[in-house]
Symmetry: D2
Subunit: 138 residues, 4 copies
DNA sequence: TTTT
DNA sequence: TTTT
């Protein structure tokens, strides 16, 4: 059993890539999930300029990845059901890097904002950068 | 909403530390959570010497931390309910290191093995090393 | 482990009552939670006039019950974290009736509509009907 | 989102039936899920002869239903991931009966007891009673 | 109608 | 750095 359920907001527009081999779509984004804090504790953290949310790297595969890229944008509220996965890879300096991320099995849109045109210009062809399979240090 | 539910086995005996200020107990361990794989996929990964489990750093606070240290041991099966948290700290080289870990709100023991005496000798006073508050790079 | 997570909409304004003994607040409402159906299956059910949602009786206690009564209304979207409980009681005919309901431990508001004034007039003093402890066949 | 996670013990051997049309397997059993009680509260309930567990009707479909029937038995510990569903049907007296049950999407065995031969004799061909589709008032 |  |  490895179950994760999150409700949070995208910190940026989602990124969309395609695996070179089979063209499988992969979307990644970070969710800001508010910590469940008392009013006092929240204010204390804000005054110390410490984060009052957890920031969780999220990965979506396949058809849902495309839906995310098409309909989600920075700030939008979503519910994610998935699992936590750990991966490791070797970086340029030959160090082993360990990654923990949420693999979304389902993404439920909780807001249907002003569509995707609101995304920044620089996103226009973001979705079409093919990536190398062994090279997804998200 | 930030909810995690895991069922897995401890990869080692749990570690127990105490915060210097108030003496709060903190227990940490890694859970090996089997990936939900088809028989074929599992065999494939085993033949490639790739892991068939996810390894998830888990932190428990307070009274439950002490219970974990007292009753759990390497290999024991537990269910954990908690949340995912992200933290960052600066390491000795001045690099910002980002950590993702599961903070357990409840740990349910699913096996009551051959008690804790089975732990290795070197564990005997493992539980009493006080640590510095800013120095918990688990 | 007894964990339930729901995202759904209130089918009516919440009801609020107070236990006679200690005045503890109890709020109850039913959540309509969309079934996760394919487009085809959904259409099929709609044509047969069968429900495409599950209707789940939900109970909230204490301070959160009052918040629900004050800020929620029919149609509002919420996330609920809680547990399933079973109860039984004897009805007027002396039959044992079995009830299954969701006890909410946390209710997260996902929409902040046009406030609570929109509630129907008949709700105005709904919140102040005391009830007998043994007589909560919700 | 309609998510349920339970860890509990079967109150009886699972029942196995087959839908008349297509022969789909359906297994049903009740899980006793311990309430998360303080020691005092637990003792209090026991002295009053009140249950300290919730009893949750669980339904499993297809291949997993057969696995449950083959490998589970009364008292065995399992983890269930699924959803809550509500149904209604008309009973012999023409009354509308409302049912709430857990539909298991995954059943994880947490104990591998003394096999299934331990089941009572009367179970021997329990699994082969075909049932009428409209007649599953579990 | 309830399990360890 | 990984468990059965």
């Amino acid at each position: 059993m490895n179950k994760v359920i999150l409700i949070g907001r995208l910190t940026k527009d989602p990124e969309l890539r395609f695996l070179p081999g089979n063209g499988t779509a992969v979307s990644t984004f970070t969710l800001a999930v508010d910590k469940n804090l008392s009013k006092d504790k929240k204010q204390e953290l804000e005054m110390q300029n410490k984060p009052t949310a957890d920031f969780l790297r999220t990965v979506v595969w396949g058809k849902q990845a495309e839906n995310c890229a098409n309909y989600l944008a920075k700030g939008r509220l979503v519910a994610v059901e998935g699992r936590i996965e750990t991966r490791s890879y070797e970086n340029a300096e030959g160090e082993r890097i360990y990654i923990t991320e949420v693999v979304a099995e389902r993404v439920q849109f909780l807001e249907f904002g002003d569509k995707k045109e609101t995304s920044s210009d620089s996103d226009i062809n973001k979705g079409f950068v093919p990536v190398d399979d062994e090279d997804i240090p998200f």
